[in-house]
Symmetry: C2
Subunit: 274 residues, 2 copies
DNA sequence: CAAATAGTGTCTCTAAGACAATATCAC
DNA sequence: GTGATATTGTCTTAGAGACACTATTTG
């Protein structure tokens, strides 16, 4: 009968078969683009960061940023590290999306991926983000649901357009997973990961939880509403939106002037929603 | 410049440092225990399956069933396999709870765990489950929240009582994780996994989504209500509960008699809630 | 009949959606 | 003034919680 200490001294994990473990991150940002008129408010575009693969497999195709889990870090820390390495920006928040472990999902071998969605504010990218790497680009996102449970994911940057088609499948506990019909030129199973990340992001936005991280500390309520509408892809009446978020924000005494219309009060996220 | 084929032929994943990967499952069951009176309905007990560890580390302590991911299966399939190996019952449903990857969580080394909650019906355990293994037992669960965000998890079976204390910590996106204050004699970080699984189960039960899996195909609405109340640890007025689940169930033409009171109609889960 | 559960009806309150109306700026 | 957004108020409707009431069985 041996002690725990001697057991552990003789224990060798490498006796067992092990997969490689990665974290892949769908990093989202919203860019406010000015309209022609000095009166009108800017229009929002939802953007997703993609990396052009330099090597095999899926060479020259676009993929989510990600990388292998390193010893001494958690999977979440790995995801944060990867996104920071790629953008030089610390994401405001990170959200677990799911584990992708189909044995054949990676032609290199047995690799399971932990998917995360992360939110990056435009402000932080302007301040510290490098936009110089040609292999990393922000793609405009369109994600629409057909009436038969099919989803269309369109990612576009300059003259590049990736169009993926997915089929939503409801698993237990009304969770949905996405089966790839057409990867649209995205590497690995990343089309399905992106779809899952967008669904997770929308689920959070429902409760006004992901939307603040896209904006600077102080914001107008209409800017917050545009973020909400950009993510959810539906529009809300301003009066109702104000009432609904009123519990999550607090006034400041500052205003935004110069818009050719009534100045808007700046708000701040309230620490304690209730 | 080499082709993708030759790249993959020379690619060797074992060049990289890899963790071991496990799935751990919190399997829940509800047992209806008859009261003394012939009139009264049975009382429900929420049960959790624990395994007494036969070897180091944490020898002789209680732990969640689980095991290493095998080549060729997904993490979810691994969780299902582990719970089926242990109980001889195929769980009705399985729910991802989180990934636990703190580097020091397992004294054997670098092991990351994928936690699942699963629901098993009492009926299926009575039919095919072996209850003979002395190292696998169903523990009665009590999980209560203090007013300061501390949680008390009490697991009891016969004369064994495990009492763990945890601190809830709200991470981003109002997800809560649990920090172990006192493991209460549970192995590894399983106290935190169990707390997370119970929280996830309650979250599902809010939408009447996990509760059907505890019951046989046909059930009375009051039995369904007792399941809901057992999981959520709150009581509801019968009239309101009936109205709220009315969209999720459909009538059968069968009745349960012999209860010393008005017979109850049996219901069935409705396939399409809306 | 008594005790217990099964099942229905209805009141109130709140929250969400729709919409009307006013306020305030820059040009 | 005009065109745009900012902001407030109110009407209606749907759903949740509370509660009163009826129905039905078995010892």
């Amino acid at each position: 009968m041996d002690s725990e200490q001697s057991f552990l001294a003789n224990y060798n994990l490498s006796d067992y078969d092990r997969p490689s473990v990665t974290a892949d991150v769908a990093a989202f940002m919203i860019r406010a683009e000015n309209t022609g008129s000095y009166r009108k408010n800017p229009e929002n575009k939802l953007l997703l960061l993609l990396i052009r693969r330099g090597g095999h497999p899926f060479k020259d195709m676009w993929a989510l940023p990600g990388g292998f889990l390193q010893r001494g870090e958690t999977v979440e820390q790995c995801a944060l590290r990867e996104i920071e390495e790629e953008t030089n920006v610390k994401p405001v928040s990170i959200l677990p999306v799911g584990v992708f472990s189909q044995p054949d999902r990676d032609p290199r071998g047995w690799i399971i991926s932990h998917a995360y969605a992360s939110v990056i504010s435009e402000e932080s990218v302007r301040q510290t983000g490098r936009d110089d790497a040609a292999d990393a680009q922000w793609f405009a996102v369109s994600f629409t649901c057909g009436d038969d449970g099919s989803y269309h994911l369109t990612l576009s940057y300059a003259d590049i357009t990736l169009h993926a088609v997915l089929q939503a499948e409801t698993t237990h506990f009304r969770r949905t997973s996405f089966r790839i019909i057409d990867s649209g030129g995205l590497a690995f199973d990343h089309a399905a990961i992106i779809a899952a990340a967008l669904s997770a992001l929308r689920e959070e936005a429902k409760h006004y939880d992901a939307i603040f991280d896209f904006l600077p500390e102080k914001f107008t309520l209409s800017a917050l509403q545009r973020v909400q509408e950009t993510i959810m892809n539906v529009s809300v009446l301003p009066a109702n939106f104000r009432r609904m978020v009123s519990g999550y924000v607090e006034e400041t005494d500052e205003y935004v002037r110069g818009g050719g219309h009534r100045p808007a009060k700046l708000y701040r996220r309230k620490a304690e929603p209730l």
